[in-house]
Amino acid sequence: MRLAIRLYSALARAFPYEFKVVYGPDMIQLGEDIVQEIAKKNGFLGLFRLVLDIAIRLPIEYLSEMRRDLSYAFRTLAKSPGFATVGIVSLGIGIGVAAVSVSEVMNLILRDAPGVRDPEKLVLVTGVSYPYTEHYRDQRDLFTGVAAFQQAVPFNISLGDSAGSKAERVFGQLVSPEYFSVVGLTAARGRVFHPDMDKPGSAPIVFISDRFWRERLNSDPSVVGRTVRVNGTTATVIGVGPKDFQGVLPFIPADVFVPTTASASMAPELSADVIHQREAKSFSALLRLAPAVTQQAAEAGLDAITRNLDQETFDPARNAKGRRVILLPGGKMFPIPKAVLPLMLGFMVVLNGLIIAIACMNLANMQLARATARRKEVSIRLSVGASRFRLIRQLLTESILLAIGGGAGGILIAFWAAAAFQKAKLPFAYPVKFDITPDWRVTAIVFSIALAAGIAFGLAPAMAATRGDLASAMKQAIVGQTRAHRRFSLRNFLMVGQVAGSLALLLITGFMIIGFHKTNTIDIAFDSSTMYLLSLDPVRDGYSPERAINFFDNLAERLKRAPGVREVVLAHSAPFSPQLATFTLSAPASGGASDQIVSGVAKNTIGPNYFAALSATILEGREFELRDQRADPAKNLAAPVIINQTAAHAFFGAIDPLGRRISDAAKSYEVIGVVKDLSAPLTQTAQGGTASVVPVVYLPLTRAEFDHPPNSGMIVMIRADHQMDVLEGVRAQLAAIDPNVVVFNIHSLAGQVGDTLAYLRVSEYVYGGIGVFGLILAAIGLAGVTAYSVARRRKEIGIRVALGASKAQVLRLVMREGGSVVIVGSVLGLLGALALSRALTAFSSLFGPSFAAGAHDPRLIVGAPILLASLAMLACYVPARKSARIDPLVALREE
């Protein structure tokens, strides 16, 4: 019984404050009065009922209080729709930007690839040769399985058996027979590849994805055993993957899997005997860690092995210090090195944190200003017995309501961005799955961010508003108005924070934009709409390499028959396209000096007359001719090479480069020409390099390229006469040569450049939008605070005017406060932005150069603070001018 009444009283004391104040004593008293009687009459069950009743009522009371808080908050917000709109929109944008990044991280970096068993145990190493992976496989104490694979491999697939049926270009992976057992995949139908069954020389086979089976083969139930033509070779489908499986690293979805035991005619990637070439580092190794082996241990072990293997090659970087092998996560959608992940997430947290903080500080500012306007309401409620906690909760409910509204807006923005990204055309030769549609996890995270922000930034103004003495607030006496304002009040602190944050944001986004612009503009010496690009891949249409070479040899001459065609040139990749891979080459020095080793070199492989077609200036020497293309690399010791100005300087300094040698892992080249630097957008540069000066070596197309065309096919560049639509004629000529050769990726150079830059333009708009957003918020916040401070000092200003102060003096008085906040904030923001940009430059090799280029732009460093400051001062000026018009009589008569 005593326990029951103790429990009862404890629960009674836990009731909401307002309930407790009125009914608490009565309720406890009543419980004590009846407990005896109940125990006598109803025994234990009665006592249980007594306690149960109060335990049930407790949450009901709290819920009803919350409901009242909510409806009250709704009503107050509805009464000031401007405030609510600005709050929700600003928070919505802030949280929306965060939501996009969160879903990017969740969907691309943290999500496991579907269909992979124990994805945590799967790691990969890129840029190794096939023999390396066989050495890796011998490390049985480290790995339970090792496979080699190539990603984004195009296959021309025709479903009919006959040679004449039209082929479709499908992307897939070229995988060693161990691949599926390393992935841990069992086939949904048929079987997977297996090293015991699939050996070199066995009949051609292919494994397909569930998507391909559904969409292209209409879910054919008897698909296993059926034949399709893969790059002109008839192959048997041996199995279908489980639903959603698109290979490892499915950001480039794979629909077709061909074993590395296939012939080079079925997979041109296997030409030149790459399976046995140590130098041909065109594979990735997929490794499954043995139980209890950590990534670090595996990485260290692999590093040592790889170092030894490299020693046996001619790679100029073979003696380089530093880590040779970086393990990437193999079971994720997108491989981000584990070491980079914290930095990358850190960058995201900082940028998004800054954006959200600015939005929240702005909200806190507005709340504070409003709370001050509501001082009277608050103090009346306090004086009639509302607890401070209760009022804080009431004010917090408003902030939380705004935050939830902002969170909902943020999710909408994230969905919109995901849809926009889906539609965006990415400048790659293969399909990229860039799905960042937010899922429930993202939504949950975003709402917790919003909620946390709402509470964190609603609490301070709520505390400030409910503090202070009741009497003076209620009277709104002169004491409250002419009290010397505290220099570092919460409000000033928030304002300084907001100005600093906005400026930092503006500067960082500005650095990005200017940097992008400086490093990634594409200069073309002629009208880019007069050049057409199209891709041909006859080897994958079933041509033998000899036939393909013959085909391309005659191509230029045939296409020139089409009206308006001026020049036809071949290239390995489209001009001005992003170069994501770079190489290390060396120039052997003469006279005992050490070799000049240059890393971060881009390689372009081009046909004859390439520079003439691009109207690029040859500074020295000559460009490639047909004989360079025909030269047999085996006989010729040094292949010809053309280098750009930057490369010439990097390799040879002031010495004349013509006739000199440079070499890479496989061979040695002789410089036959120097060409002016061409634009190289989005190029991965060496650490510390700047993107505007990328060293480029141009190699001639050789038999190897015709044997194994790149995954974009062979690019045919057609320069046309001005304002001539030549495509019709070109198509007709191609059809006349061979109607079965698939022509794909037809577009103009202008379109190609547009696609490449579209990606950057989108980021520019996004960053620009964020910067402007910060700017606007800072202005709103400043205007709000100044208006508030003017309102607070109305009486004081009235007295001053009555005593003869001029308008200008009043104006100066009011502006001074805003001005000092702006100055302190600007200085802090400038320092913050510079520090941040340093950190970012060091962090990203892709963005770093753009950043460095932008960070030194005086326009920005001087312009942004001035822009922000003048906007801020304007935001102060408008309410200040209003204050100068105060009629002293009216101001003094108030109350």
Binding site: A12, P25, D26, Q29, G31, D33, I34, I60
Partner: protein, 116 residues
């Protein structure tokens, strides 16, 4: 002020509380006992439910705290006293009328059936 009809049909607890207060101002304990007595223990208002209901009834303006206290010798100073408001009286009347109407209809129907 909300309409009388919006409270009909009245919750059982509310009805009994209003009924107990119809005779004049009373405190919570008394109401509890009164209801239990009147219903022969069938309706029990446990303390928290009682005060939760009293709070709602006050918020909805059906009852109010009474300033008039009973004679000093019977007044329990620790307790709050409640009384019906005029609106609460109207709600109680309306509910009573509604119940009477129901009962009347039942009787009428029984009468018909008996006559058949």
């Amino acid at each position: 002020m909300p309409k009388v009809e919006s409270f009909l049909p009245l919750k059982t607890n509310w009805f009994h509380i209003l009924l107990s207060l119809a005779a004049g101002e009373q405190h919570g304990y008394w109401i509890m006992q009164d209801v239990a007595e009147r219903t022969g223990g069938k309706v029990r208002l446990w303390p928290a439910t009682l005060y939760g209901s009293l709070k709602r009834l006050i918020e909805d303006g059906l009852i109010e705290e009474s300033e008039v206290r009973p004679a000093p010798e019977v007044d329990d100073a620790r307790r709050r006293y409640y009384k019906l408001t005029r609106f609460g009286q109207r709600v109680l009347d309306a509910e009573t009328e509604r119940l009477e109407e129901l009962v009347r209809m039942v009787h009428l129907k029984r009468g018909f059936e008996a006559a058949r």
